[in-house]
Amino acid sequence: MTDVTFILHDGTRRIVDVADGISVMQAAVMENIKGIDGECGGCLSCATCHVYVESLEAGELPAKDPDEDALLEGVAAELRPESRLACQIVMSPALVGLVVRVPERQV
């Protein structure tokens, strides 16, 4: 289990303890983090789990799949260098201190 901090659009911070092998999208949907829809269930089809990675203390995020890049081009909120699809960040104990910011909107 590893903590992920979500900063909601209204600035509220929520910390979720995520089981290994579960994606940040899945955890957000399961814990009802407002602003992350994850409608396709992590199949890289919908781009409704866009987040901004604010910080990571240790470990390395997985590289972006070309499909992730392609979907990110079409996200509703502003695309930034730190934009990721949360479904592609699968948690493991190696990822320490992950903080992600939820964008204003997904669609």
Partner: protein
């Protein structure tokens, strides 16, 4: 009087609606009733990653226990509703318990259509709808060597691809002269057939299953109308679903292959809403705009559930989101935006042989739907562009490889 929202059906639409009720500020009780014993889970991965074993069960959970508790949503799993008493405003549960409601939501989903041929109830004839189906199919796939998939729609083709990935011999039997004919233009049907054949699947088109042949009570093969027998150890039936509208019909609500609701998701009874696969609703994206249709998709379930929750609690809005769908087969990502009409003019963009192309559907000269293969940018762009019903620069469709938006103008 009781202040309680009862939601019948605990899948995508039901879960979304229950949480949306809280977002609408509803402070009363929320009871979410599910017939299955498993806590609410995501269905799309069942025929894809879950079947192949790449997505674990834990990752399928829709909401955690903590999330239900925090939103004060009471889950009643393994619970079947047998009737709705609208006069008394109560739902009747199997066993006789009566549960009063002030607001009621029907998110009962759909049931699989079953083959009505001899042998259809043999061991080894499987469907693909819920978790139990997926588990049964995964177990059968482990033990089996040859599978026949009846139906060349999304579910059948996804199952075929997953079973192929598990090393089985697979034959797809489709009654229509082409695959996924209900949703795709011929060009995409042909491409899909090539895709599946390239992966070693036998595709039989225009073929009617007349019997499932058994041996010792188990499937041994299927017999086709032309007399051909295809041997197999398991049969996956994916020939569509039927909206689960019986409860509504028996309660005197209007149904027509689905519970009839208005654009806000309400039935004629203002205290009763319906959403998701069970709800027939007027949709502005239907080929005949505003015609009542049923959409079977997670996106529709989620969007319609939000709208229905708002309407139940005094904030009626219109369900008008651009419909979109997706299907993953092997490594191919197939994405659709908008709703197709068989009469659409189809323009091809990109090269099907490259695995990256889109089919633009034109209706009355305007962009009405886009099917994309291996081109997520086009799909994302289409979801946004369709809302404006743009005209398309036909002359450049074949040659322009840049953004789809470049080809579109308000006209």
């Amino acid at each position: 009087m009781v202040d309680r929202l009862v939601v019948i059906g605990a899948s995508h639409a039901g879960c979304r609606l229950a949480f949306a009720a809280r977002e609408e500020g509803f402070e009363g009780e929320v009871v979410l009733i599910g017939a299955e014993t498993a806590p609410p889970y995501q269905r799309p991965p069942l025929s894809k990653g879950y079947l192949k074993g790449s997505v674990p069960l834990a990752a399928l959970r829709l909401k955690s226990d903590a999330a239900f508790a925090e939103a004060r949503i009471t889950l009643r799993l393994g619970t079947t509703v047998t009737a709705i008493d609208r006069a008394a405003k109560e739902v009747v549960l199997a066993g006789g318990e009566r549960l009063a409601y002030s607001k009621l939501a029907l998110t009962t989903g759909a049931r699989v259509r079953r083959l009505s041929v001899p042998g259809a109830d043999l061991d080894g004839v499987l469907h693909m709808r819920d978790l139990a189906d997926a588990d049964a199919l995964a177990a059968a796939a482990k033990a089996g060597r040859r599978a026949v998939v009846v139906g060349g729609g999304f579910i059948g083709l996804e199952a075929a691809a997953s079973l192929r990935g598990l090393g089985l011999d697979v034959a797809v039997i489709e009654a229509e002269p082409r695959l996924s004919a209900r949703v795709f233009p011929p060009r995409l049907s042909e491409w899909l057939r090539d895709l599946h054949e390239a992966h070693g699947v036998t595709v039989r088109l225009g073929a009617q299953v007349v019997e499932i042949v058994g041996r010792d009570g188990r499937v041994a093969g299927v017999r086709l109308a032309d007399g051909t027998k295809v041997s197999c150890d398991l049969v996956v039936v994916g020939i569509g679903v039927i909206p689960a509208d019986d409860l509504a019909r028996d309660a005197g609500l209007a149904v027509d292959r689905g519970v009839l609701v208005d654009a806000s998701g309400l039935t004629a009874d203002p205290d009763v809403a319906a959403a998701g696969d069970c709800a027939r609703h007027p949709n502005p994206w239907a080929p005949r705009p505003g015609a009542p249709i049923v959409l079977e998709s997670v996106q529709n379930a989620a969007d319609q559930a939000r709208v229905a929750a708002a309407a139940l609690f005094g904030r009626p809005t219109v369900h008008d989101a651009v419909p979109w769908f997706w299907s993953d087969q092997y490594d191919a990502k197939i994405q659709m935006a908008g709703l197709p009409d068989p009469d659409d003019e189809i323009l091809l963009r990109g090269d099907p042989a490259s695995g990256r192309f889109s089919l633009l559907h034109l209706r009355d000269g305007r962009l009405a739907a886009v099917d994309s293969v291996g081109w997520p940018q086009d799909h994302m762009a289409a979801r946004r562009l369709l809302a404006t019903r743009p005209v398309v620069d036909r002359a450049r469709v074949e040659t322009h490889t840049g953004p789809l938006a470049d080809l579109c103008s308000p006209g």
